[in-house]
């Protein structure tokens, strides 16, 4: 199997590429994690999940989006699950019933912050499993740590991947930079910026810092936005989103650090 096919197969059905590549236990764990988190979140959210679509597609893409919710981010990498959820969605043809269905999508649900975290996490965890399948398929030199695991650990706690890879002072510095940026964003906006129900576009980059959206989404997401809104509300949204994007760099660097070390050790 080629590395690209391993990625595509994992996105379609998490764990399937691992089974084909002779790692059935890892495949089952991947399947349970990705599918389990998605459907646990979906059980809380129902059709409210589709409040998270990034944009309404143009007319010529609307038919495609009816079956394939490519605009539902960051869940879209968990392709198989999002397609199933989309096909099971209540989409009546009757305009009056459709209006009622759309009203229900806009209605906040109890525990929806947990639901949004779980579905988002399923999309991102699928990406880590896809990276793992790609690594298995390309058969690189054996590394001391699992490459995808260090990236995944960095997603939860920035810098922890570097710590596992042995670069401890770099771990404190890079991880600290991401966490401090996220905290500044929260503080300047009175702690109300991480809320997918209110501003989904910011949630997509924010979700690249898993520990951040877990802690602030569950702990602070339900806070009422003060009236008038905090003076630096938009700045807070921007800084927390930038912190997520910074963590994307940290995750990729953690993967690269482990991979580079393995290739150096393998070179005679």
């Amino acid at each position: 199997m080629t590395p690209v096919n391993a990625i595509l197969l994992t996105l379609l059905l998490p764990g399937s590429a691992h089974c084909v590549l002779g790692k059935p236990v890892r495949g089952v764990v991947a399947l349970l994690m990705c599918v389990g988190m998605f459907f646990a979140g979906w059980a809380i959210l129902g059709d409210r999940l589709f409040h998270g679509v990034l944009f309404e597609p143009f007319a010529f893409l609307a038919h495609l989006a009816r079956f394939v919710p490519f605009n539902l981010l960051p869940e879209a990498p968990n392709f198989g699950c999002t397609v199933v959820a989309n096909l099971l969605r209540d989409m009546p043809d009757n305009p009056a019933a459709m209006n009622e269905a759309l009203r229900l999508v806009r209605l906040p649900r109890e525990m929806e912050h947990l639901g949004f975290f779980l579905t988002s996490a399923s999309g991102l965890v699928t990406c880590f499993w896809a990276a793992d399948a790609q690594t298995l398929a390309s058969a690189p030199p054996p590394a001391r740590q699992n490459r995808a695991l260090v990236a995944g650990m960095s997603w939860i706690l920035p810098g922890s991947g570097h710590y596992m890879a042995g670069q401890r002072d770099k771990a404190y510095l890079m991880g600290g930079a991401v966490i401090l940026m996220f905290l500044i964003g929260l503080i300047v906006s009175d702690f109300v910026t991480v809320d997918r129900g209110l501003h989904n576009a910011y949630w997509i980059p924010q979700s690249l810092f898993g520990g951040g959206i877990l802690a602030s989404g569950l702990g602070l997401g339900a806070l009422e936005i003060p009236d008038p809104i905090p003076q630096r509300y938009s700045l807070g949204c921007t800084l927390t989103a930038v912190a997520g994007l910074m963590n994307l760099v940290v995750m990729i660097d953690a993967y690269t650090v482990v991979d580079t070390a393995a290739r150096k050790e393998a070179t005679p």
Binding site: Q167, D169, K170, Y172, L173, M174, A177, V178, L180, M181, I184, V188, L235, L239, V242, M246, V249, V250, D253, T256
Partner: protein, 59 residues
Amino acid sequence: MRLVIYAVAMFLIMVVYTGQHYDNAGDILRDSVRKTGKFLAWTGILVLVMELCFWLFID
């Protein structure tokens, strides 16, 4: 206050950016301080040019 947040945010972004190119914290800090200073200087120049354009063509 806004300028302080801008400078701090720029420094933190530079820490992560330069962190990809070094293996130890000392080198990362030195390079990120240098790059932050450079970026702030360019920001100042950009703001001055925009103010000048405003003064020449709009005001």
